[in-house]
Symmetry: C2
Subunit: 360 residues, 2 copies
């Protein structure tokens, strides 16, 4: 069964590269998102890699370069599981278009998923290769996929402190099963709390170096700019490299335009806060004039997993604008409108999620 058939329930933004996301009610049905329901973000081809002959190369500023098979990783290092969200920096981009046009696929709030990632700590592998933990170093990932329309493979990097953090993995399994090809088989990085761009799939090599990756994915793309910067005026060197993802919340049920019954209705969704805990979710049925607090379902007590929430709302006959917003442990909340955070690439859309419904 090919990818499109296996994922025929997904909303497809592009076939080549393949980019697709699940419907939100399906996404909200399980705390751990099934691999087949998990959004797929590809920048190029889907590499076909033989897991048996696969080797990961560790190079650069290390005392002992390594070449490791999946069996080597499993034998030499502790195997750990981290429950963490993976999300695209363009998640919810669709809603940013309301301010002004943006480039990139118009993702709904489904470019996100939450899974048990199993693998080895990147820190353990780097320590085995021998690194200077106190140096101002970067850990660059080079991959097997060739970026669409270009002649170079995908690549990105993270700083050494995040690479050495206990949550950062080289993962070979997702929800207890080997990675599916579209999720990075046989090995991917999982950098919890960071945008998906920094968790490359189909890893070929890892290089410890003085500078961030020179790959255009790191050097030019996935940079955040103020609203007055355009594609023509953007200087990548001045943009903020997107890493930690912002506080966000989405209403997964009901869907926009839903016809609901008058009276009690359940509203459900998810909330995330990058590397912080979500401590509160407010829901409004009048466009944000009044709010009630949702119940939080804290199944995995970790800032890197998402928080599911739900609330019973009593709806009068007529149209309603449902709104959700989250609060993080620092007492911060989301902006009401996307105007101030608008950027021409449509990254980090995180203002209040609004869903119009009718009760009759």
């Amino acid at each position: 069964m090919n990818l499109s058939e296996r994922k025929k329930h997904l909303i497809v933004h592009g076939e080549a590269p393949y980019n697709a996301e699940p419907a939100l009610d399906r996404l909200r049905a399980a705390f751990r998102t099934d691999a087949d329901d998990f959004y797929v973000r590809s920048h190029g081809n889907l590499p076909e890699i033989d897991g048996g002959s696969y080797r990961l190369a560790i190079r650069g500023s290390v005392s002992t370069p390594l070449d490791l098979s999946i069996a080597d990783l499993k034998a030499r290092f502790d195997i750990v599981t981290v429950t963490a969200v993976m999300q695209c920096a363009g998640n919810r981009r669709y809603d940013m278009q309301a301010v002004a046009p943006v480039s990139g696929d118009p993702w709904a709030p489904g470019a996100i998923g939450n899974a048990d990632w199993t693998g080895v700590r990147l820190a353990d592998v780097l320590s085995a290769a021998g690194i200077d933990e106190n140096a101002d170093l970067h850990v660059a990932f080079e991959c097997h996929d060739i970026v669409e329309g270009e002649d170079y493979p995908y690549g990105a990097s993270i700083g050494l402190s995040k690479a050495m953090a206990p949550e950062t993995l080289l993962a070979f399994a997702m929800n207890g099963k080997p990675l599916e090809p579209e999720h990075g088989f046989p090995l991917r990085a999982v950098v919890p709390g960071f945008a998906g761009v920094r968790s490359p799939k189909w890893l070929a090599s890892i290089t410890v170096q003085d500078q961030p990756s020179a790959n255009p994915m790191q050097a030019d793309d996935y940079k955040l700019f103020p609203p007055d910067v355009t594609e023509e005026t953007a200087d990548p060197a001045k943009g903020h490299t997107i890493e930690t993802m912002p506080l966000n919340a989405a209403i997964c049920e009901p869907s926009p335009g839903a016809k609901l019954k008058v009276g009690h209705n359940t509203v459900r969704g998810y909330a995330v806060a990058g590397d912080r805990n979500v401590v509160r979710v407010d829901v409004s049925c009048d466009g944000g004039r009044s709010w009630s607090q949702a119940q939080l379902e804290a199944e995995a007590k970790s800032p890197f997993a998402w928080t599911f929430w739900s609330i019973e709302l009593d709806l009068n006959p007529g149209e309603h604008e449902l709104v959700a917003r989250a609060w993080d442990e620092a007492g911060q909340t989301q902006p009401s409108q996307p105007d101030d955070t608008w950027n021409y690439k449509g990254y980090l859309m995180a203002s209040w999620h609004r869903v119009r419904v009718t009760a009759d």
Copy 2:
């Protein structure tokens, strides 16, 4: 020279307990705030402690209870210096009053300071006492000051993970000099990124325990509530315990009501982001309709120190509303208005800082 004389340039909110903050131009004059310019937040008396006979007790779930003099701390553990902000959870409370009355002193944006704190890592002391690092434990501080109008000493606690973080200190010096009495002589906790309430002064003992401190400062006060909760309806068990401080920015120069010259004027201030880096500060001279980006002066590259910023603005004749807002590394910014974050105790005021001036 007594405290009030030595600090006669401060704005005094109360003499007993002594609570005072510096003028903002004086605060902005030095990256490391001088002890005499540093805000003072007291909940009770100013203890007079003999440094020579002083002992810190380590008790509770430890294998080896300890009694440590300052000399013991210096001899047995690595001495480290961390540059970090200390700020009151009520910093900028004055501006929250515009929404509705709040309790507590009406702090301007001066209930904050930045210093080099020197001491030993709390982690090292706890490790020497023997703790189970993986347990869900709390580290409770008991102090020598008696809370005003009560018969119990000040106390608060933090979770074990923050207690074991490398930035968390037991500090005996501030900007290279022994702590002044009003800043906690001879020993205080410094918990960078957290509200000042969790960095107690005049430490008497530290207890490792299963539960947060039962002291009313921890159990009842310094909790964050939604706007609909009042003093009468507040259930402390349902409030969010304030720890990490939110993203914030303040204009330190010019002052509110300043008469400026037409043309170029310099606006200066500080920005903080709890445990994150500040990556951008925007300044407006038209109440937030248009923005320019300030220059960041990153003297200490640490998320726990503050970020000084400045910008030259060209002012036309007339009244102007200067506004400042910061952005953190997760792409989050501050709310424009305090309405949504208003709470009856006036904690965590962090909406756009607005200063009205006239140019002619």
